[in-house]
Structures are given as structure tokens and as C-alpha cells.
């Protein structure tokens, strides 16, 4: 299931054959993907699938055991300054120094990035409604997320990396974060990569999507092509079926008796052919939501997985 994408020459992040083991657990298994410049890249997967591990490799917080990671063409472990000065990062745990005040934190972060725009920072601070004299310790979770986002955005980074930016936050803050992502990508040439569970957010803002399941890449490519490559078919059989019909492109099968709902991926002609082989009729055909696609892929048993997809 290869989705044609931009060439790797244009890629801000180029990961090839990355594998990582923690003890006996294989956290990443031969993952390859390319993030094109100017795109919004959504990374989805269940908890523990390997999204944070992947993001840490991009930042150089983990060294690639096998395979390679290149960001802006450089190795983030060998050249931390060259890579990190162009990357804005918001971690899942909002890991901020709790003893600093907000204005101290802004002043401190400003010293690292020559591209820091004080007016933009001030505008964001007002937009996020943050009291400059408050200590980070006393801020609520949503406010801490906003502060973290502020210091990641204010120097207009070429690459914005967000690890679960909306986790644990109320809808108001989530909307603020989404707006900030849109504003970032609307500026020419800036790229965003974010991992999230909230698939409707991912659907709204991403151009490209990658889904990781148990350390392997099961989906990768443009969002609209992925959605168009999946179908929810309602099959009607002449005789009631005792067991779920064995359709080979099917990811999930539900139903009973004569009517069965199947979520499958692949070429339409191939699907029609398989359905005909089973001796059924397609009575309804719809494009499934990303939620359903995700759940269907995540529900696959380990043995049934195809070999890891390469995202070209």
C-alpha cells in the first residue's frame, strides 16, 4: 500500500529503516518516513505504539540503533545545535522549570533563538491570557500547555514538533492550539509534525498522515488519498452466513445473517472482484471516518500485519 508522495529531496525529516529496542520490547520496527517541507504531518497510534519514541529520535533525545534519522539534512545527535535551533518542541509532559515565572521563562528561552520575535511573543501571551508574574508551578495544566506552546512558537521555527499537544486539555485550549498550528503552517515553508489521539483534529489540519501500530508503520501518505483508499461496504448475501465472510482486504467485519458491514482498503475494482467471489452484493458504500480506519487497523492481530510500509 504505497502512497506516492513528495520526493525525499524536499524532506525536512528523513527517517530510513529506524528500529529501536528497549530491553525486550521492540518500540520501533523498521520505520521509514519523509516529512515534506510546508506540510502538516499527523502521527497517530495507540498509547505505547511508538510515537513519542519516534519524536525523540527526531530531536536527538534517542540515538538511532539501526537506520538513520536526518533533520534538515543533519544528524540531530551529532549536530544538536544546528538542528535544535530550528525546531520548536512541545513535549507531552509540558516539562517546564517550575520555579521560573512566565516572564523569566520567556526571557530565558529568548536567549537561545536569534529569530525570537518579541512582538509576536507578546501577542501570543495576550492571546493565551497568561499572567507574566505567575510562577509556572501555580499554572493549571492548560496554561502550562499554552506556555510551552508559546516558547515553541515565538521564534518562528522552521519545524514545529508537538507531542500530544491536546492531551488532557479542555476544548477551549485545544482550539487555541489548533489555531496556532494553522497560523504556523500558513507562513511559507514552515512544517508541523504532531502526534495526537484526537482524530478529528488530525483530520482537520493534516495534509499527511502516518499511523504507527506496535512500532510498525501501517499507513503513510496524503490524508485524502488514505481516506479514499478505504471503504465501508455493506454486503448482502443471499443466504445467512454463519461466520464472518473471509474477504482478504477486509480490516474489520461486523454483522450477522445476510447483511455484513466490512471496512476494507484497496483498489475499488479489486474490492468488487472479491465481493463477487464471495457471492454477495454491495448495497451501500461509504467513505469511513479516520476514527473507524484507525480502530480497524489497530485491531489487527500481530500475525496478520503486513510488512512495514515505507512512506516515500
Amino acid at each position: 500500500m504505497n502512497f506516492p508522495s513528495t520526493s525525499s529531496a524536499d524532506a525536512v525529516i528523513a527517517i530510513t529503516g529506524l528500529s529501536r529496542r528497549f530491553g525486550s520490547k521492540l518500540a520501533l520496527d523498521d520505520v521509514s518516513l519523509f516529512v515534506p517541507r510546508g506540510s502538516v504531518f499527523g502521527l497517530v497510534g495507540e498509547n505505547g505504539a511508538g510515537k513519542t519514541t519516534l519524536i525523540k529520535h527526531i530531536l536527538g533525545l534517542l540515538k538511532a540503533e539501526s537506520g538513520s534519522v536526518r533533520v534538515f539534512g543533519k544528524d540531530p545527535v551529532a549536530d544538536p545545535v544546528g538542528v535544535l535551533s530550528r525546531v520548536g518542541y512541545l513535549s507531552e509532559y509540558r516539562d517546564l522549570p517550575v520555579w521560573m515565572r512566565v516572564d523569566q521563562l520567556l526571557g530565558y528561552t529568548r536567549a537561545f533563538y536569534p529569530g525570537w520575535d518579541p512582538q509576536y511573543a507578546e501577542q501570543l501571551r495576550g492571546q493565551f491570557d497568561l499572567d507574566p508574574a505567575a510562577r509556572v508551578k501555580t499554572l493549571s495544566q492548560g496554561q502550562q500547555a499554552k506556555v510551552g506552546l508559546l516558547i515553541a512558537l515565538a521564534f518562528r521555527p522552521e519545524l514545529l514538533l508537538l507531542d500530544e499537544p491536546s492531551s488532557g486539555l479542555d476544548p477551549v485550549v485545544r482550539r487555541d492550539i489548533l489555531e496556532a498550528i494553522i497560523q504556523t503552517v500558513a507562513d511559507e515553508g514552515r512544517t508541523v509534525l504532531f502526534s495526537s489521539h484526537l482524530l478529528d483534529e488530525v483530520e482537520r489540519v493534516s495534509d499527511q498522515l502516518a499511523m504507527i501500530h506496535r512500532g510498525r508503520l501501517v499507513l503513510c501518505g496524503r490524508l485524502d488519498e488514505i481516506k479514499e483508499g478505504h471503504r465501508r461496504l455493506v454486503l448482502r448475501f443471499d443466504a445467512p452466513q454463519a461466520a464472518p465472510p473471509p474477504m482478504k482486504q477486509a480490516l474489520s467485519v461486523r454483522g450477522s445473517g445476510r447483511e455484513w458491514t466490512v471496512l476494507c482498503n484497496g483498489e475499488r475494482s479489486g474490492l468488487c472482484a472479491s465481493v463477487q467471489q464471495l457471492g454477495a452484493r454491495i448495497v451501500d458504500e461509504q467513505v469511513p471516518s479516520l476514527d473507524e480506519i484507525f480502530v480497524a487497523h489497530a485491531g489487527q492481530k500481530a500475525g496478520a500485519l503486513e510488512p512495514s510500509t515505507a512512506c516515500s
Binding site: 502538516v40 494553522i182 500558513a186 478529528d200 483530520e203 482537520r204 485524502d224 479514499e228 471516518s289
Partner: protein, 130 residues
């Protein structure tokens, strides 16, 4: 320009924008020559990817519903253009198809439908004074 999109609908987001803009133009809520918001503004308003909005605008331009003027934004095409009228007819045709399908399912004859249409049309005409 009031547009609502929903990612879960099963229709791609850009298509939803295209359909809604066409509807707004056809129903008169967007007058010919009126400016529609720039790509970035609409993207921020709806919190969706600007590329999606760009794609929708491209589609609308190809269909002739809007025109892009260099440097000054995107505007609704002039009315009286056969494309706008075609669009209106297309929307209505879809509704009529849905109505006819339901009528057939319920076993109502075509003559009964036409009579029903006339019956419902008369008071509406007097009400709107057209």
C-alpha cells in the same frame, strides 16, 4: 461567510466547502461580485489546513463560481452567467431525485406528486408576494 464543516461526514472537507459555497451563491446569500475571505483567514476561522481551503478555492474557480483577481482577492462571479444558473438547476435536481425516490418507495404516483407540488406552491407564492 458562514460555513460549517464536519470531518466526520464522510465527504472530504474541501468538497464540503465547495458544496456550501455553491449553495450560498445559488441561494443568493453570496451576491455576485462579493469578496470571499482569503485562504488564510478562512483556514483560521474553520481551523483547517490552508491547503484544503486552497484546493476548495481552486475547484470553485474551475467551476466558474468564483474568480480570482490578481492581488486583490477572490470574488464571486457575476450572475446571469450560465454556470451559476446551471448550478442552481443541479442542486434542485438532486433534491427532486431524492423526493422521487422516496415517493416511489411509498408507492405514490407522479400525478399525486405534481398535485401536491401545486397545492404547496400556491400559499407560498402569495406569502412571498412573487
Amino acid at each position: 461567510m458562514q460555513i460549517n464543516i464536519s470531518p466526520k461526514e464522510g465527504v472530504p472537507i474541501y468538497q464540503q466547502i465547495v458544496n456550501q459555497v455553491k449553495y450560498l451563491v445559488a441561494s443568493g446569500r453570496l451576491s455576485p461580485g462579493e469578496e470571499i475571505p482569503p485562504i488564510r483567514a478562512l483556514a483560521e476561522q474553520l481551523t483547517i489546513n490552508p491547503n484544503t481551503v486552497a484546493r476548495a478555492y481552486l475547484e470553485l474557480e474551475r467551476a466558474g463560481v468564483v474568480t480570482k483577481r490578481h492581488g486583490s482577492g477572490t470574488y464571486v462571479s457575476e450572475s446571469g452567467s450560465p454556470l451559476a444558473r446551471r448550478e442552481r438547476v443541479r442542486i434542485l435536481t438532486r433534491r427532486i431525485d431524492a423526493l422521487l425516490a422516496e415517493a416511489i418507495n411509498m408507492g405514490i404516483e407522479l400525478d399525486q406528486i405534481v398535485d401536491l407540488l401545486r397545492e404547496r406552491h400556491a400559499p407560498m407564492q402569495t406569502r412571498t408576494g412573487k
